[in-house]
Structures are given as C-alpha cells and as structure tokens.
C-alpha cells in the first residue's frame, strides 16, 4: 500500500500558506518528514489524519481517497498528534480500553489482550491502574503511542513524537515504530535529523510549505560525498567566511566554531574534506545547494 499525495495546497484564513503544491509518494515503511518549526509538517500530518481539509490536491491511500472517504481512512489510521492531553481522572487501562472499542475491537477478550499487549509494549503495564493525571510527559507520550497502535494501523501518522522523550525512551519508541513500519506506511515528522537517519528508509525535507527534497537518506548522503568541507575557525572569522563561501552549518566544538561549507571543488586552504551525513543533506537543502530550491533559482552562492 502506498500513500500518494498530489498537488496539495493549504492556505490559512490569516494568509499563511502552509502547504504549496505538495506532491509525495510514500511507500510502506518508515518515512521521515524533516523540516524546521513552522514548515507545514503538522498541517500536512493533520490533513493526512483526516482532521483538516486542503484547498487543493488529492491524496490516496492505496485505493482510498483520503479526502473524501474519511471514514475508510480512519479505520486504518493510527495518529499521534504533536500535542495532546488525557482525561486526568481515568486510568490508562480504562481509557485505552475505551479507545479500543472506538477503534472497532468489539470482542471483550480480544480487547483485553490488545490492551495488555500494548500497555506492556509501551511499558505502562505496571502503572495501568494509575490515573492519567499523575503521568509524566514521557508516560503520556507512550500512552498516546499505545492509542495510535490500536487496531494495527495501515497508515501511521506520528507528529514530532520524540520531542518530549528522554534518550532511552526515544530509542525504545523508535524501535516500536520501526516494527510497525514493517508492513504499514509510517509517516514521521520531526525536526531532529537523527530520528530520520536512524530509522527511515525514505525521507522528505519540507520548508515553508514546500517539499524541497524527497530522497532515500543513504542515497542523498552519498550524492553529497566530496562536496562538504570543514574548517575550524574562531567566532570572529565567521562573517568573513560566510561572505566568501557557502557556509551551510556551523557548530560549536570545545569553544571553537566548526563550519561546514558546500563546494563542488576544494574551497581553499584551511578546509578539509569531510564525510557528509544527513545533517549536511538537510542543511544543504535548506540553503538551496541541492533539491528544489536549486532547481528554482540556481546556485544560491557562487563558489
């Protein structure tokens, strides 16, 4: 089953264009949607989760028209929104059971089994009797995952799920997702590059409502090989460096600044070639050296 997004655009009443002609094909497996805050990720996720209407475009999940057959989509949908709350006075077990019924698991014993398995899987089994009001942020997030996983979804939409998790929980969570990704479409939006690089077989980079790059992470990284250069400088040197070279990212390392520069040829003395990673793919795309921005306007900075 594949998810086809065609020419989807969305403009909010206040004039903000959240999505511009988004076209993507998402096969089964883990798919990362990478972009800065405010890029339109959540809007796209909500549209896929049947909660918002695009102004234009069409979306198909296999044979299902997502925009017009919402009921069908919802039967195979698992959705974990970026932010959500819980009923504070209900226990996790009760609420999950309630949602299981809403997801169509009619038989009581089956529901019990599923609830137990999911609570164990999300490691909430020990605290299943506790009221949700007393849960920590991570526990709530895991509860949300359990809800999203109910009913073996064919389409899983998870919107910035790792934001509130500590490192260990994050790993566990990503493992869980990848298990689901074995036979479903899992779309994961994030602004953390590692989430994508560790997990996703395919990815797209989105900014200001536009898809800048859709690729396989490994291929994209491979394509950049030989074009990323590294130089360690002091902070004062940065403005000059930026004037002369296409700096795509800077990072602090032990008080010094490490700058990555995009260049198809060796930029000059002081630079050393470096092995590119997904971070560099992201930065280069955002800066317009590769991907859609390049096509639209040509190289942003002459080298």
């Amino acid at each position: 089953m594949e998810l086809h997004i065609r020419d989807v655009s969305k403009t909010y009443p206040n004039g903000v264009q959240a999505l511009k002609d988004v076209t993507l094909t998402i096969p089964a497996g883990m798919y990362g949607l990478l972009g800065p805050n405010g890029a339109g990720k959540s809007t796209l996720m909500r549209i896929l989760a049947t909660l918002q209407e695009p102004d234009e475009g069409s979306i198909r999940l296999g044979d299902t028209d997502v925009l017009n057959q919402k009921g069908e989509v919802r039967k195979t949908l698992g959705y974990l929104p970026q932010e959500f709350g819980v009923y504070p006075k209900v226990s996790a077990e009760n609420l999950l059971n309630h949602f299981a019924l809403l997801k169509g698991i009619a038989e009581r014993r089956a529901r019990k089994e599923v609830v137990e398995a999911l609570l164990r899987q999300t490691n909430l089994w020990e605290v299943r009797k506790q009221k949700l009001g007393g849960y920590s942020g991570g526990m709530k997030q895991r509860f949300g995952v359990a809800v999203a996983l109910l009913g073996n979804p064919k389409l899983m939409i998870v919107d910035e799920p790792t934001a509130g998790l500590d490192p260990a929980e994050r790993v566990r969570f990503l493992n869980l997702l990848s298990e689901v990704g074995e036979n479903s479409v899992v779309l994961l939006s994030t602004h953390i590059v590692e989430d994508v690089s560790e997990l996703c077989t395919r990815m797209a980079i989105i900014d200001r409502g536009e898809i800048l790059l859709a690729a396989e992470p490994l291929g994209a990284v491979g394509d950049l090989r030989g074009r990323i250069w590294r130089r360690v400088i002091s902070k004062e040197e940065l403005p000059e460096l930026e004037r002369e070279h296409a700096v795509i990212s800077t990072k602090l390392l032990a008080g010094r600044t490490v700058a990555h520069v995009y260049s198809e040829t060796a930029p000059g003395p002081g630079f050393e070639p470096t092995e590119p990673d997904l971070e560099d793919v992201y930065s280069s795309t955002m800066a317009g050296h590769i991907g859609r921005r390049l096509e639209q306007s040509g190289p942003a900075v002459a080298s």
């Binding site: 039967k75 974990l80 959500f84 809403l102 009619a106 089956a110």
Partner: protein
C-alpha cells in the same frame, strides 16, 4: 503599577472578545423587548409610566437574571484562563503579588460586567425613546430613575455575581465553573425567595434573594400604588439596604476566601478523594525510562475488528456510560443527583402544609411539587434546563478540553456515535435524577406517615411525562453545543434558546407549534385522573420529537471534527456526511414533522378556532365598538330559567335545552332582544313565544339581536327557548377543555349559556389596550359615588333543571333535589330552587353523598369517594353557621345547602346561592386535633356560609368589602361562638400573617377597597375592632339592618356607604372617630411596649409599670404618611404564664386606658406575679404581628 497593567490587559483582552459584545447586544435586545412588551403590558393594566423608576427597576432586575445566566464567563475567564490555557507557569512565576494578580483580574471582570449591564439601561432608553411608543404612557425623563436602577440593583448584582463566579472559577481553575456560581445565585434568587421555602416569611425571602427578584418583582409590584409606580424612586433603605449589605458581605467573604486559599503554585489534580487514592498509588512501582536493553519485543496480537451497526451501538453505549460517569462524579452532577433530591425532601414536607394547616401528602400532590413544564420559568425546576445546558457543554467539549480532541476525532466511526452517546449519557443522568426524585417524594410521604405511595403514578408522571420534556431540551442543548465551535457562544445560544422557550409570547410567538418542546400541559387529579389532557400532550411531544430527530441530523452533519472552522469547509464536510442513511433519517424526520404538524394544525386551527392574544383583544375591542351603543337600552330581565341538560361524560359531550323567562321591568316597551352567546359552543336557533325576526347573528363577536313584531310592554313577560351543544372537536392549541370529562364534569352558566343584553365584562379594561384600539377610557370599576351603577341590578332567578348523566354518576345542580329516575340507561335528576339564585353550576361525577340536617335544611356533601377527611368538620361548621346567622341576622332562605367537590388542586372554596363548591385540594386539609391548633377549614366553611347572607351589592368601589369583609367578619363570629374566644384569637393571628396577603399601608381607604388585603384582611379586622369597642350586638344590629333594607331586592344595590351609614347609626358619638379612622381613611396604629417592670407591694398585689409608646399614622392613596395625634382608649393587659395549649397567657388585668401620642407610663395593679405585659395585647388596633410584634414584652421583676 503591576496591578494597573494586570487590570488593563485583562480588560483590553476581553473587551476585544466577540462574546463580550454579544452579551451586550443580547441584553440590549432583551431590555428593549421587555420594556416594549413586558413592562408595556403591565404599565397598561396598571397605567404607570413606561419609563417610571419602578418599570426601569423591574426590567433591570429581570435583565440581571438573564445576564447572570449568559455572561458568567467574563468572570470565569478572568479567574481561570491562565490555568485553562496552561499559561499559569508563566504568570505564576512573574514577580507579582496575589493581591495584584487576583485584584486586577477581579476588578477587570467587574468593570466588564458593569459595562455589559449598562446595556440594560441602553436598551430601556432605546425602547422608550425610539418611535412607536404611545406618548401618553411616557413620563418625564428622569436620570435618577436609570441611575438608581443601575446603582442600586445592577451594580451590586454585578459585584455579588462576579465575586461568586470569580471565586468558583479561580478555585477550580475552570472558567465554566462560574456558570455554576450563576446557577447557584439564580437558584437563590428564584427558588429560595419565591419558592417559599419559608412560607410567608417575606422578610427572610427578601433578605436572601441575591438579585432583587423578590423585593422588586413581587414586593414592590404588590405594595406600591399606581401613583408610586409612576413616580417613586427606588430607595436604599430597609430590607433593600439590608439585602444589599448582606450580599455585599457574602461577596466580600467569597473574595477573601479566594484570596487566602489562592496559591501561585503548580496545580495537581486533587480533590479529597483523589488525594486518598493517590496515597495508595504512591506505593505502586513507577517504571523508570525504558532501557534499550530491556526491549524484548512484545507482539501485539492481531485481533478482528468490525465496523457496523452493532459496534456503533456498543460504542454509543460506552460513550453514554463514560458521559454519565463524568457528570455524576463532577460537582455539578453531585449537586443535581444528590443535593437537589435531598433538598427536595424538606421542600415537599414544607409544601404539604398550607397556612399552617397540614395537607394530606397524596401522591398527586407530592408529584405536583416534583414536576414542571419546561417553559414554566417561575418554577423551581428551571434549574434543571440550566444544568442541562451546562452538562451538554461539558460533554461536547470534554475531549477537546482534555486535549484528546485530535486523537478521538481521528478514530474510525461516524459522528452519530459521540452525539448519540452523549445524549444517552445525559439521558441516563436524567433517568437517575427522576428515580432519586421519586425516592425523595416517597421519603417525604414516609416522614409524614402517609402510606399509599402509588408508585405507578410516580413512574407514569416522572418517567413518562416529565422525562421526555427534559430529554427534548437536553437534545436541543447538545445540538447547540455540538456545531457551535465556541463554548461560550454555545452557552449563550443555548441559554437564549431557553429564555425564548419560556418567554416566547414576549417575542410575539404564541402558537405551541412554533416553540420548541412546547405543547398543552397534562393535568392529573384524583377525580379526573389525566382526563383528556394526555392526547394533545402526546401529539405535540411527538411532533417535537420529530424535530429533535431532524436537529440530531443537523448536529451530526455539522458536528465539529478536526480543525476546520470555516463555514465553507464545514458545509463541504457536511455534504460528505450526508450519506444515504442520514438522508433517509432526515427525510423521515421531515416527513414526521409535516404529518404530525399538519395533524396538529388541523386540530388546533381548522377544527378549532385559533386566536392569538392580539386577536382576542381586537375582538373585544370590536365587540365594544359595534355593540356598546346598546349598553344602555332597556332589556327585559331574566327571572326564570328552565333547563334540560344531558351530560355524556365518556363522549365529553353535553346538550342543553333551555327556556328563559324574561320580564320587562322597565318603564318602556321593548322591541328588540339582545342575546350574548358564548364562544366555543354551538348555540342553536332561538325561538320566542311571539313572532320575532333575527336582525343580527354575529357568530364572531357572539352577539345576536332579534326584533319583536309586537314590542314587549312594561310588565309583560316573554319566553325564550334555546339550545346549546357542546362537543369536542379534536383538540385546541391550548389543549382540551376539561369541562366534561369521564369523571368530574363541571361547568357554569357563564361558560356556556347565552346572556341577555350587552356584556360590559367583555370590554377591554387595560387603559393601554383601550387607547391602542381607539376606545374611550373607562374606569376599572364604577366610582363608589356613581348612583347609576347602584340601579344596575340583576335579580335572582327561579331555577329549575333536569340533568341527565351516565347511570353510575350523580349530577348536581342548584336547588333542592326533587326527584331522580333512570331512563334509557341514563340517570336523571330534577332540581328546583325555593328562593332566587344568581350564578349556577352543574356537576357530574361518581360522587358519594354525605347527608346531614339542620332543622329543616338538608345538608348534602357531594364528594369523591376517597375524600372523606373533612366531612364531619364541614357539617359542624355548616350547622354552627346556620345557628349563628339565623339567630343574629335573618332566616336561611333555602331548604338545602349543597357542598360539591370538583376536580382541581385548589384548596379554597366558592359560594353560590345554596351551594358551596370546592376543588379537591380542600379535601386534603387535615388540621391537627389538638386544641392549640387552628381549624382553618372550619373557618373557611363558615365564611362561605356567610356569603348566603351577603346582601345584593353594587359593582362599584368597595364591592369586595361588601362581600368578603362582611362574610369574614361573620365567619370570625361563628368561630368565636362555636369554638371559643381562644380559637378566634388563633384565627386572627393567622390572618395577621403577611402571607398570602401582605399588609399594604397605602392605597384606597376601606370604603373604596378593592385589593385582597383590604377585603380579606383589613375589612374583617376593622369590623372586629369595632365590635370590640362598641360591642358585637351593635355591629350585628347594623348588619341586620343592612339585610333588612337591601336584602329584599327592592332598594338600590348596597354599597360600603350603606354599611357605613348603618355602622354610624349604632356607634356612640365618643367612638365615631374610630369608625372614621377605620373606614374613611387609612389609619395605622403603632403601639409599642418598651419596658415593663413589676414590684410586689403586698400579699396578692403587684404593681406593674408599663413604658409604652403610641403613634397613629394616616396614609393617603399616594402613600404619603401623616402622623395624627392620639387621644383614645386602648387596651392594656398584664398576663400570668400561659396554660397548656393557650395562645396568650392567662390575663391578670385587661382594661382600656386613655392613651396619647408618644411615650408614656402606665401603672396598674395585678393580683399575682406577672410574666408579660402589653399595650393592645390582642392586636385589635395594631395589626402587625409575628416578627414585628412589639405590643407585648416580658415583665422585669424588681425587688
């Protein structure tokens, strides 16, 4: 500085919110409509200015109530927005003090509310000064009128309500908690004050009413004269001041508690019970983060999922159950399901007593306390719809407020599931509530020692009739909240919808087909059972259920799901949701609405005539315009009536064939007969015993004119034969006329039979209506000095009737029963009178007859078989009355007296010649038998018996005094004569209570009295006081003389002037001043015992010194009081301790002393040690008793 910024920000924030201005707009509109419609209507009846301070105050109070319900979120937002939005960690950690934060927020809310309430005054101004108002009812513009209403009513209300709303919202962290504060205040204003939790304790009610409903709407409306209503400004004094201070105090207290308990701290979910369960949870293991190594894969089993009707049903039920649990465990839910049923028990207990006399707590009577139609805005049960609005809002917003909205919205399944689930949840709450109310009712009966519970009746009425009423409204509330994507606006719309339902006629909408959930009411009495009232009720409810179904479809289509707000997108979504089954449901709903609505319309408007209020007014005006010219022409007088009445109880039909005997007693020949027929019955052709031609047969205005070929010469008589047919045609908009029912038929001549001549009582009386229809002004009643009105006498008639009814029923009519027989499976009764009578009534029911005699007079009580509690008491009272009245006044003219029960809950009685009728409620009086309690039913029967001696009186000012005051004086004397002076004092003591007729100190003097206080209280008191001063014999002599002169029917009709003349004749010169004070002017004696001391001066001699103060005040009709000097004889008494069951203690000394104005000291000697002493101890002159009884004080013993 920070305070100012907090205030400024909050004020600016809310002033830019759309809801603030919606509230403003709604209040302007309602104030406008009330002034134009509500006040106008009343101003017209009473004829005070539309813009008088009183009218403005009234509108302000009513609008305050509506403001209370629509605008609580202003305070709620100010108090709880930070917590609700999760902003509080930022604000709470800012360097501000509690006083700055809470103070700024509270004052901003108060300022906003003060601003919003200005809309009321704006609306009134707009209504008064925009075009379309009759200038005659406009007074001068007085800024003070608006300012006092705003300053004394609106502003304090704003403060009190804002404080309570703010406190609740701040405490709970939820803006909507403020709505509960409003409901609480509303409940106080309405239920506590109007609902006589403190029966007769007007003062307590006034004090406890937070909004002013009671002291403005009921107290001033009642106590102020028309002139005062036009001119007097509301003042901050007395009860009003005390009330305002008390509530300001409560509000400040609430604010203080909020301030003290408020913490700038993280909020955890903590109520007393979660705190306890939390303690247990604390020991359960808390898993730490999940280690990567710990991950052994756990497989989630593949389970079957189904999507279809069955699972939808189960999901719906699951949501219903969680919805129920949410409500039932919330504070408001506990209030509904615990507090209200608990409070109902004492309320029911209290209502099972009237005027201090217990009533039998029959199930029907208890149920009456537990039910009310949705639209009864004056019922204590208005709280239920208000809570339903709140619960509907909470349920609809539950997911979104918990932050789970997006997750649940993305779940599979149709929008029907949450909508129906929530509706069923709310329904379940109502079912439980009804069950608890039933329990409360039964509990009250158990406490009163009543055993016949009639569970079936409880179930039928509470679950079968009341529950659907609430369910319809619950559905409406959900439908409003569902699609309206803004909670506060949803509340506003739902509340406005409710206000519209209750006050629809104010908005010019009257037909029940146009008011959601409305319909004719059902009724139940033990005699009549439900009668024919259920059919129309059911048709209307089915019709509204069909609407509810359609509304449910609309709610489903527009149910908010996802993030889309725009109307365009939502309509697009709605189109997608309009699936085939939904379309079929909608079509079915529309089909049902059309069929049921059509059927109802056919019944109400085609089979029967439907008239709006203005149609009726117009008809009355037209009647007057067209036929008034015949008002003065000579018409023959009705002297005899002969009727054959066939009552068919089961078919609810009746046929009357009648003959009138008409005599020309005028001095001129009469050539035409005017006949006023009655609406809603078929009056057939009329035949005379001489040739006559119909000239006008006006079937719309019900007036006929026949010309006689040969005029009727003076002294000649004429026979008129007519036929009247009564049969039900379906049902009317107001339901079914219950005159003829399977058991308990009851109708009077005025209901159905034609009358002779132009009918003045069909004219419009309200000055405004008359002006609006271009009719000349007419007084409500003729002046006391109008000599013409005294000649306008209708003598009694000789009456004879044969009444037929079902074989198993007894038919009753006035007159002595001359025979009874059975014929063709029907039973016939023949009655005829042995002395003239006036009005008359017919009855038919499965009566039991209780018979007794007094000399030659047959006493018959026709009663419902179960209603036997008071039979002996009634007979005793009838006999005692006949004893006393025949001895003191004149012989009883009839050979019988009938007392007849008919269906209804009323507890009073009505007297016609030779017949006393009463509703079933009267049978429920159960006075306690101990000698210390008042036997009120005995006194009531004696009073009604006294009406048999009422002299024919003119319909002029003072008429009710001639009838009711004299009859109550008679009744008092029978009580004294038969039951002793002690019992009379108990009766007087009861009559001096402010309930149900509070004392009015202003208004017309007794001679021109019309008001119930004057006729039922002041008149009897005055006659009694006179009898205490000049002696019973003299007063009775004067009354006997009145009967001698006016009883026969020769003299002009009697007025209070005739009564006064007779009283003057028997009063010694020295006491003429008293007569004048009692009858000609409004005099009030204020006699006060300040201090009494006693000293033993010897064996068996105690010297008692009384410091007393006396004041006498005369109030003119406008309410201006003038003090006049006193120099008159007043009783002074000294008392020993009270004996068992005595009202007052044993008198040691009672003598009249000469008393003058002001403070003075009186010294008397008593034979034994006194405990109490008083001036006017028996309240002969100073009629204020109870709370304000300052006539008697304890005696201090000095050694």
């Amino acid at each position: 500085m920070k305070f100012r910024e907090i205030f400024r920000f909050e004020f600016a924030y809310q002033v830019r919110r759309v809801w603030t201005w919606l509230f403003f707009a709604v209040l302007i509109a309602i104030a406008f409509l009330m002034t134009r419609d509500g006040t106008l209507a009343e101003a017209l009846r009473d004829d005070f200015f539309l813009n008088s301070p009183f009218a403005i105050a009234k509108t302000t109070v009513t609008c305050s109530l509506i403001w209370l319900l629509v605008a609580p979120v202003v305070a709620g937002e100010a108090a709880a927005r930070d917590v609700a939005t999760g902003m509080h960690p930022l604000t709470y950690t800012a360097p501000i003090s509690k006083a700055e934060y809470l103070g700024g927020r509270f004052l901003a809310a108060l300022a906003l509310n003060a601003l919003i309430l200005l809309a009321v005054q704006a609306g009134i101004l707009l209504a008064v000064y925009s075009p379309g108002v009759d200038v005659e009812i406009l007074g001068p513009f007085r800024p003070g009128a608006y300012l006092t209403a705003y300053g004394f009513i609106a502003l304090p209300n704003a403060f009190v309500a804002t404080a309570i709303q703010f406190s609740l919202a701040a405490r709970s962290g939820r803006p909507m908690a403020s709505f509960l504060g409003s409901v609480l205040l509303f409940f106080m204003a309405y239920v506590v004050s109007i609902f006589l939790l403190f029966q007769g304790r007007q003062d307590v009610a006034n004090l406890l009413d937070p909004i002013g409903v009671h002291f403005i709407l009921s107290d001033l409306s009642h106590l102020w004269t028309t002139i005062e209503k036009s001119w007097r400004l509301i003042e901050l004094e007395g009860t009003v001041l005390r009330n305002r201070l008390l509530w300001l105090g409560i509000a400040l207290g609430a604010l203080a508690v909020t301030y003290l308990r408020f913490r700038f701290a993280h909020r955890t979910e903590s109520t007393w019970w979660t705190r306890r369960s939390r303690r247990r949870d604390a020991h359960s293991p808390m898993p730490a983060g999940i280690g990567v190594t710990a991950s052994t894969p756990i497989s989630v089993p593949q389970v079957p999922r189904t999507f279809g009707f069955a699972i939808h049903a189960r999901q719906t039920l699951a949501i219903a159950w969680t919805s129920f649990r949410t409500i039932a465990t919330s504070w408001a839910g506990l209030a509904l399901l615990a507090a209200i049923p608990l409070m109902t028990v004492p309320v029911v207990l209290d209502q099972m007593e009237l005027n201090g006399v217990p009533l039998v707590p029959r199930t029907a009577r208890v149920i009456e306390e537990l039910t009310a139609p949705l639209s009864a805005e004056l019922s204590r049960w208005v709280i239920i719809p208000l809570l339903l609005v709140f619960f509907a809002g909470e349920l609809v917003w539950r997911e979104r407020e918990a932050g789970l909205g997006e997750i649940t919205d993305a779940m599979p399944g149709s929008e029907w599931v949450p909508f129906l689930g929530k509706f069923l949840g709310l329904g379940l709450v109502l079912v439980v509530f009804m069950a608890l109310l039933t329990t409360a009712g039964i509990l009250a009966q158990v406490i009163l020692g009543y055993q016949e519970f009639e569970i079936g009746l409880y179930l039928k009425i509470l679950f079968g009739l009341q529950l659907p009423e609430y369910l319809l409204f619950a559905l409406l509330a959900l439908v409003v909240h569902g699609p309206v994507d803004q909670k506060y606006i949803g509340h506003l719309v739902a509340i406005i919808a409710y206000v519209f339902i209750t006050l629809a006629s104010m908005f010019g909408i009257e037909h029940n087909l146009l008011i959601y959930g409305a319909g004719p009411e059902w009724s139940y009495t033990e005699m009549r059972s439900f009668g024919p009232s259920l059919g129309p009720w059911l048709w209307f409810k089915l019709y509204w259920a069909a609407w509810a179904l359609l509304l449910a479809v609309v709610a489903r289509l527009l149910w908010v799901r996802g993030r889309e707000r725009g109307p365009g997108v939502r309509l697009r979504l709605a189109r997608h949701r309009f699936t085939r089954p939904t379309a079929w449901t909608a079509a079915a709903a529309v089909g049902l609405i059309l069929t049921l609505g059509g059927f109802i319309f056919y019944n109400t408007n085609v089979l029967n005539e439907y008239l709006t209020a203005s149609d009726i007014t117009e008809r009355r005006a037209e009647y007057e315009r067209r036929y008034r010219r015949y008002a003065g022409i000579p018409q023959p007088r009705l002297t005899g009536t002969n009727l054959h009445v066939e009552i068919h109880p089961e078919r609810r039909e009746a046929e009357i064939r009648g003959t009138y005997r008409l005599v020309n007693s005028s001095g001129v020949a009469i050539d035409s007969i005017h006949l006023a027929t009655v609406p809603d019955v078929e009056t057939g052709a009329v035949a005379f015993d001489r040739p006559a031609e119909p000239v006008i047969l006006d079937e719309d205005l019900h007036h006929r004119i026949y010309t006689l070929e040969r005029p009727l010469q003076p002294g000649d008589s004429l026979r008129l034969d007519f036929q009247v047919r009564v049969e039900p045609h379906g049902f009317r908009e107001s339901g079914v006329d219950a005159s003829v029912v399977a058991n308990g038929a009851f109708f009077t001549n005025r209901d159905w039979l034609p009358a002779i001549g132009y009918q003045r009582d069909r004219e419009l009386t309200s000055p405004a209506d008359r002006r609006a229809h271009g009719l000349a002004p007419r007084p409500l009643i003729a002046s006391l000095y109008d000599v013409e009105a005294r000649k306008d006498r209708g003598d009694g008639i000789a009456f004879e009737a044969v009444v037929g009814t079902d074989e198993n029923q007894v038919a009753v009519a006035p007159g002595a029963l001359r025979g009874t027989w059975t014929e063709g499976g029907r039973r016939y009764f023949r009655y005829s009178t042995d002395a003239p009578i006036g009005e008359y009534a017919f009855f038919s029911a499965d009566y039991a007859v209780h018979e007794a005699r007094w000399n030659d007079v047959a006493i018959r009580i026709y009663h419902h078989p179960g209603h036997t509690a008071n039979l002996d008491r009634m007979v005793r009272s009838v006999r005692a009355s006949l004893d006393y009245y025949t001895e003191q006044f004149s012989p009883y003219p009839y050979s019988h007296i009938s007392l007849v029960e008919h269906p209804g809950h009323g507890t009073g009685m009505h007297a016609d010649p030779s017949m006393i009728t009463y509703e079933e409620g009267f049978s429920d009086w159960t006075p306690e038998d101990d000698p210390g309690s008042l036997d009120l039913p005995f006194a009531v029967v004696a009073h009604e018996m006294a009406h048999q001696w009422t002299v024919p009186y003119a319909h002029v000012e003072g008429a009710p005094v001639m009838s009711e005051s004299i009859a109550w004086y008679y009744g008092m004397k029978v009580v004294e004569n038969a039951r002793g002076r002690e019992h009379l004092r108990r009766l007087l003591s009861f009559m001096r209570q402010p309930h149900p007729y509070p004392q009015i100190r202003r208004g017309e003097p007794l001679l021109r009295g019309l008001d119930p206080y004057l006729s039922y209280r002041k008149g009897p008191f005055a006659l009694y006081a006179l009898s205490e001063y000049i002696g019973e014999e003299r007063v009775n002599g004067a009354l006997r003389r009145l009967i001698e002169v006016h009883g026969s029917g020769e003299a002009p009709l009697a007025t209070t002037l005739d009564l006064y003349r007779e009283l003057q004749a028997v009063t010694p010169k020295s006491l003429q001043y008293l007569l004048h004070d009692l009858f000609e002017v409004n005099t009030y004696w204020e006699l006060e015992m300040e201090r009494a001391t006693a000293e033993q001066t010897g064996e068996g001699a105690w010297q008692v010194t009384l410091d007393v103060r006396a004041r006498k005040v005369v109030a003119d009709p406008a309410g201006v009081e003038t003090e006049v000097p006193i120099d008159e004889w007043v009783e002074v008494g000294v008392f020993a301790p009270a004996g068992e069951g005595e009202e007052l203690s044993e008198p040691l000394y009672v003598q009249k002393h000469r008393i003058r104005s002001g403070q003075q000291t009186i010294t008397v000697t008593a034979p034994r040690k006194p405990v109490g002493a008083g001036i006017d101890p028996y309240h002969v002159l100073d009629w204020e008793e109870g709370e304000d009884d300052d006539n008697i004080e304890g005696v201090e013993i000095e050694r």
